[in-house]
């Protein structure tokens, strides 16, 4: 056959067949072996109220199935985040001006408002690759790599897991370990702990990059209880060490009596902060333990998925999470899945609202509300349906609300009554499409 451009023979043949048979094929060929590829794609919108964080993300998870249950999985997630997050300062009855993390501009927050840093704009790409296969009849193992890059953050991680079935596969013991090294390269550099926020152009308060190492170990037992019920119990241990501080968060330095933030005036001719702010400082180590229990229970068609997680760590944060879903089939090819999640956590022992001037600095301090004491509830509904050719689509809409309380003993003078926990009200909308080739 003379070397021809590709597909020239089959296109000429298609035309010739059309004239021979007097018509083309009504429906193009759809022939597939056992699907070699399973794709799971999703578009997600996460939006918080009053112009706080918005996140649009696209994810795709591709599983290549090989003979005898060996699976190569590859995942890619792209996020674009915009909006504003609380920068850690408290409200004041006067406008407040802050220097941007880059150190070359300022932004001003009106009086009485919770100070938000609105320069928060980032795109993130995350990649995961994993291989899993049976090891003999009763053992199963897997290894994986994960990596993600943001403008100012790089994550690289490896993980492995192994599992063994016992007593006719009714009981499965599993163990997994993950090691990762993350690197912070903050805009403007990582601030020196408790360093003051300086005028535009001054850089005496910033260092370079920082990194942190995370070790995660998960031990689990999965037990079949009956034909209709399966239970899983995981204990996980997580050890984080290195730079655990948030480089963009800081605290207001306040007067011990009035609780108001000390004012300052930038150097002549320069722009800079209108008040005294000190960059936060968190411990360099954190050890977390968590116990997670999940059960799935089949009630002639409907499936209950209930899980409970208890977490405690050496930052004195305890949390309880209850997550309940009920998948309700509607006919043969669609289902409705209401979802309810309740989360509550206590505050970290170094969480505080502000730093008091003239008092010896604590070892660690952060006013990041995520280390505070709050409850969160998620309530949502997911609707899924199988399309004609056996693929599955689903859409879910959920609201996520955080309601916190600031312990009264953390408030000083005028802060009482003015400083309230920044409650959060977010909407999650996700569309997903699963198909195989």
């Amino acid at each position: 056959m003379k070397k021809r451009n590709t597909q020239s023979v089959s296109t000429a043949l298609a035309a010739a067949t059309c004239t021979l048979l007097g018509s083309g094929a009504p429906v193009p060929v759809q022939a597939q072996e056992d699907p070699a590829w399973n794709f799971n794609t999703a578009l997600l919108y996460y939006g918080e109220d009053n112009s706080r964080v918005n996140d649009y993300s696209f994810s795709i998870l591709a599983n290549r199935l090989f003979v005898d249950d060996r699976v190569l999985s590859m995942g890619l997630t792209l996020d674009t985040l915009t909006g504003a997050t609380p920068n850690g300062a408290i409200r004041q009855d006067v406008p407040q001006t802050f220097t941007r993390p880059s150190g070359n501009a300022v932004y001003t927050v009106p009086a009485g408002e919770l100070p938000l840093d609105d320069t928060f704009h980032d795109t993130r790409a995350a990649l995961t690759v994993g291989w899993e296969q049976p090891l003999g009849r009763l053992w199963k193992g897997g290894v994986g790599f994960s990596g993600s890059k943001e403008f100012d953050y790089l994550h690289l991680g490896i993980n492995g897991n192994i599992a063994r079935d016992f007593n006719k596969r009714n009981t499965t013991l599993s163990a997994g370990v993950s090691l990762s090294r993350d690197t912070w390269d903050p805009v403007g550099g990582a601030p020196i702990p408790f360093a003051p926020m300086l005028d535009v152009g001054a850089t005496g308060n910033k260092l370079g990059t920082e990194n942190k190492d995370i070790l995660d170990i998960v031990l689990g037992v999965t037990q079949v209880v009956s034909r209709r019920m399966i239970v899983q119990l995981n204990y996980s241990f997580s050890d984080n060490s290195g730079y655990l501080t948030d480089p963009y968060k800081f605290l207001s330095l306040v007067d011990g009596a009035t609780g108001d933030t000390l004012t300052r005036t930038p150097a002549p001719g320069a722009a800079g902060p209108s008040h005294e702010f000190r960059f936060e400082n968190r411990p360099q180590a954190r050890t977390k333990h968590s116990l997670y229990g999940q059960t799935k229970y089949y009630m002639n068609g409907k499936v209950l998925d209930a899980s409970y997680r208890y977490m405690t760590d050496d930052w004195e944060i305890d949390s309880h999470t209850v997550d309940v879903r009920l998948r309700w089939p509607l006919g043969e090819s669609s289902y409705l899945e209401p979802h309810f999640r309740f989360y509550t956590q206590t505050a970290a022992d170094f969480y505080r609202i502000s730093l008091v001037d003239g008092v010896e600095l604590p070892a660690y301090a952060s006013s990041d509300y995520r280390l505070g004491e709050f409850d969160a509830t998620t309530a949502g509904l997911k609707f899924g349906w199988k399309t004609g050719s056996g693929n599955e689509m689903s859409v879910r809409v959920e609201t996520y609300q955080q309601n916190g309380t600031i312990p009264p003993q953390l408030l000083i003078g005028n802060q009482i009554g003015r400083e309230t926990y920044p409650d959060l009200d977010a909407l999650i909308v996700q569309f997903s499409y699963r198909f195989s080739r």
């Binding site: 799971n40 794609t41 999703a42 997600l44 994810s59 998870l61 995942g75 997630t77 928060f120 993600s148 943001e150 100012d152 953050y153 007593n167 006719k168 009714n170 009981t171 997994g176 993950s178 912070w184 995660d216 998960v218 031990l219 037992v221 037990q223 079949v224 209880v225 034909r227 209709r228 399966i230 119990l233 995981n234 204990y235 996980s236 241990f237 997580s238 948030d246 050890t287 977390k288 333990h289 999940q294 799935k296 089949y298 499936v303 977490m311 405690t312 050496d314 944060i317 949390s319 999470t321 289902y335 989360y343 956590q345 995520r370 689903s394 879910r396 996520y400 999650i428 996700q430 997903s432």
Partner: protein, 73 residues
């Protein structure tokens, strides 16, 4: 702290050995084999949820590894 750690591991141990008698025959796994009965039915949704809650709360993981891997602020 190691009191709670001991408590957890002891609990897993009792769960593990207490389970020898429980369970079903291999041919009674028709329901357990259904997609919707797998412990993680939608890995992507589980992933996005873990990520959202990691960036908004102080706890993470539990079902699997701690998640994270982002400078979410």
């Amino acid at each position: 702290m190691n009191r709670t750690r001991l408590g957890f591991v002891a609990l897993i141990a009792t769960m593990a050995c207490g389970c020898a008698s429980m369970g079903v025959e291999p041919w009674e796994r028709d329901i357990l084999a259904k997609d919707e009965m797998q412990l993680t039915t939608d890995p992507i949704e589980a992933g996005t949820d873990d990520h959202i809650y990691f960036s908004k709360e102080a706890s993470s993981g539990g079902r699997g590894f701690g998640g994270g891997g982002c400078g979410c602020n």
